[in-house]
């Protein structure tokens, strides 16, 4: 599975939303499903899917779907 598909599925699973509403501009707290509680779930989901550990600073910085890809890219994971 491509990394793009993996991150989409991780977001969809963690936020319990359909994948088609997830795009680069999707912002933290811009939809009711992406609140502070589901953000915690999202972080653990991303850690599991990409087998990485996300530092607290990056947890705080993860303000959008695009930013999430940028943060995960720091772990030598590439997105198309």
């Amino acid at each position: 599975m491509s990394n793009n598909k993996k991150i989409l599925e991780a977001f969809s699973e963690a936020l319990q939303v359909e994948a088609d509403i997830i795009h680069d501009a999707l912002m933290y707290q811009s939809i009711p499903e992406w609140d502070s509680i589901s953000h915690m779930v999202l972080i653990t989901e991303l850690e599991d899917v990409f087998d990485i550990s996300i530092d607290i600073d990056d947890v705080i910085d993860m303000s959008s779907f695009a930013k999430a890809k940028e943060i995960i890219s720091k772990h030598k994971i590439t997105f198309d």
Binding site: I37, M40, I43, T44, E47, D48, S53, I56
Partner: protein, 246 residues
């Protein structure tokens, strides 16, 4: 009571932490034991694994050291070690009136009792979020609920644990993770044995049940909070004090 579960206990080589390790092992929980003294931890591991059919992971960890805490929990995650329960027990007590308290003492007390508990909960709760299940048991104190002369720093550190417990319980309730605290009274541990005679007697005389508490008295309530017997209990501060009045 905890068969197949995995419990992480901080400050596990002595007193209440050690008794929790024993009681939880007896009740079938695998253990992750953290403390500063690795030699003592290894002896405890050997003892528990010889007595019970459980696995015990031990790691040296001073809860004042954030880097080390992160390192230990990262390693646990890498090895896919589950954590179903955290007993945030590591703590120190330094007594003095406020005017006689040097900065180093309140740094040590706060770093250990407050920051250590918060950081361990921050790390361990991630394991629980994955499973949408878990229990965190923080160690507060009757000094945190009631205050006491000569214990402003210790008492306020334990009061901070109460606020932390209540807020975190609200944060994690929707994820089926329970957070509670114990507020032990006068418990027979190395910590209380170090008190001067007059102070000891004054405290002892205020215990309604006319006996010191034991680490087992506290560990039993920790076991209840860790187990499914308390599956609808969160955000509570439970006194284990034999009716002590301060």
């Amino acid at each position: 009571m905890l068969n197949g579960k995995s419990t992480c206990i901080t400050g596990a080589t002595r007193g209440i932490g050690l008794e929790c390790a024993n009681l939880f092992a007896e009740n079938g929980s695998n253990l992750i034991l953290l403390a500063r003294n690795l030699e003592s931890l290894n002896e405890i591991k050997k003892d528990l694994e010889s007595k019970y059919s459980i696995s015990v992971i031990v790691r040296s960890c001073d809860v004042k050291d954030e880097t080390r805490i992160v390192e230990v929990f990262k390693e646990l995650r890498k090895n896919k070690t589950p954590i179903d329960c955290l007993i945030n027990n590591a703590g120190i007590m330094i007594d003095s009136t406020l005017q006689m308290t040097v900065r180093k003492n309140f740094d040590d007390v706060y770093l250990t009792n407050v920051y250590g508990s918060v950081l361990c909960a921050q790390q361990a709760s991630k394991f629980m979020i994955r499973k949408r299940s878990g229990s965190i048991v923080n160690l507060s104190s009757i000094i945190g609920t009631n205050g006491n002369l000569g214990q402003t720093i210790y008492g306020s550190s334990k009061a901070a644990i109460i606020g932390f417990t209540k807020s975190l319980s609200k944060e994690l309730a929707a994820l089926n993770i329970r957070v509670n605290a114990l507020a032990p009274g006068f418990i027979d541990t190395e910590m209380t044995r170090g008190m001067d005679e007059k102070f000891f007697k004054k405290n002892f005389d205020s215990i309604g049940m006319r006996r010191l508490g034991t680490p087992t008295d506290v560990a039993k309530v920790a076991l209840f909070l860790a187990s499914d017997l308390s599956e609808y209990v969160t955000g509570q501060i439970i006194g284990v004090d034999g009716g002590m009045i301060i």
